[in-house]
Symmetry: C2
Amino acid sequence: MEYQLQNFVYPRTMATDRLTRKGQVTRDRIVQAAARLMLEQGVARTTIEDIQVTAGVSPSQLYHYFPGKDALVLAVVDHQAGQVMGIQHEGLDRLDDLEGLGDWRDLMIGLLTKVQCVGGCPLGSLASDLSEADPVARVQLASAFESWEGLLRSGLERMQDRGELAADADPGELAVALLAAVQGGLLLSQIRRDPAPLRTAVNTMIDHLRSLSSTGGVR
Amino acid sequence: MEYQLQNFVYPRTMATDRLTRKGQVTRDRIVQAAARLMLEQGVARTTIEDIQVTAGVSPSQLYHYFPGKDALVLAVVDHQAGQVMGIQHEGLDRLDDLEGLGDWRDLMIGLLTKVQCVGGCPLGSLASDLSEADPVARVQLASAFESWEGLLRSGLERMQDRGELAADADPGELAVALLAAVQGGLLLSQIRRDPAPLRTAVNTMIDHLRSLSSTGGVR
């Protein structure tokens, strides 16, 4: 995924301020290699040696940046949260009507199709993988999902302010349901190797929001 | 989860017909131990030795039933599919109106609360864990999710036949969206250790179905 973070600062798991530019590049290469391997085979199946070889760094270089696998896992969570939130900001920052939600859906479908549904949601997969095994990562993931939910809620609130959503609709509840539709849709798409379930899940939520739109005349 | 399969036969990954009753009990004990460990710590983090110790069997006993971890993983997928489908049959077999969907939701929330949201969906967690790592398990999981989706679709079709759902609603699409809501809701509940996201996701879908109900007067 080539999306860059824009105007988005995610709390770092470790201080990277003091790294030289070259040091930062090496660290990024390690994290990106780790993120890709963990997405493709899971966290537990990814060894420090795999990451070191894939990143093309020596063991001592890797240990210079990461004292152990736990630190690397948190850096991967941080990295994937940044990637996903970058995409979500791109899709949601200017959201103000139902058409905008259609563009957001198409952005996600496009990215999923490009990777042939492999890995599902980079953040959701880590959440499923780490929720029981790594309590620190779980808290970090919960915080990332809270940010994502907040972004959806803000978009829905803007729609409501503009009269695109009924005044008595609950943007907070609808944001949770939209996020669940995305996560569930991505998982079903990953299992079937077909973007259709994600499209159906999000379309159904858009239909629901349309039924709640003040212009839809439903309520 | 103490739910028993009722009137539901799920294809077995290996012939168990020739096992003695005692052999069947031992095999079940191994599969149940493996299923619990894999739910709590993930497939890759669960070793054959963990399973053997937890099940209280000797290594040679375990290898008598399962030639290796791959076979055990498929048996766990099969076992969890049976457990989950047992619960889903219980919740959906007599589904014929929106109130029935509320009971189905409460059944799932009750089970999730009982385990304090640990493990999320036994089937969804395996799907996320194994979709990339184990192509055979992925196909087996896809088939289990197809059965689950079919069960939801049948319920929605019955509601439609009874006039509880508008004639132009699409039970197939709505079944996918409901399943996505359940999976996404369960994942968010697992991350937050709170059943609220699952409740919200399913409630939103029930609200949507209500807006499509012929009695709801929406369409």
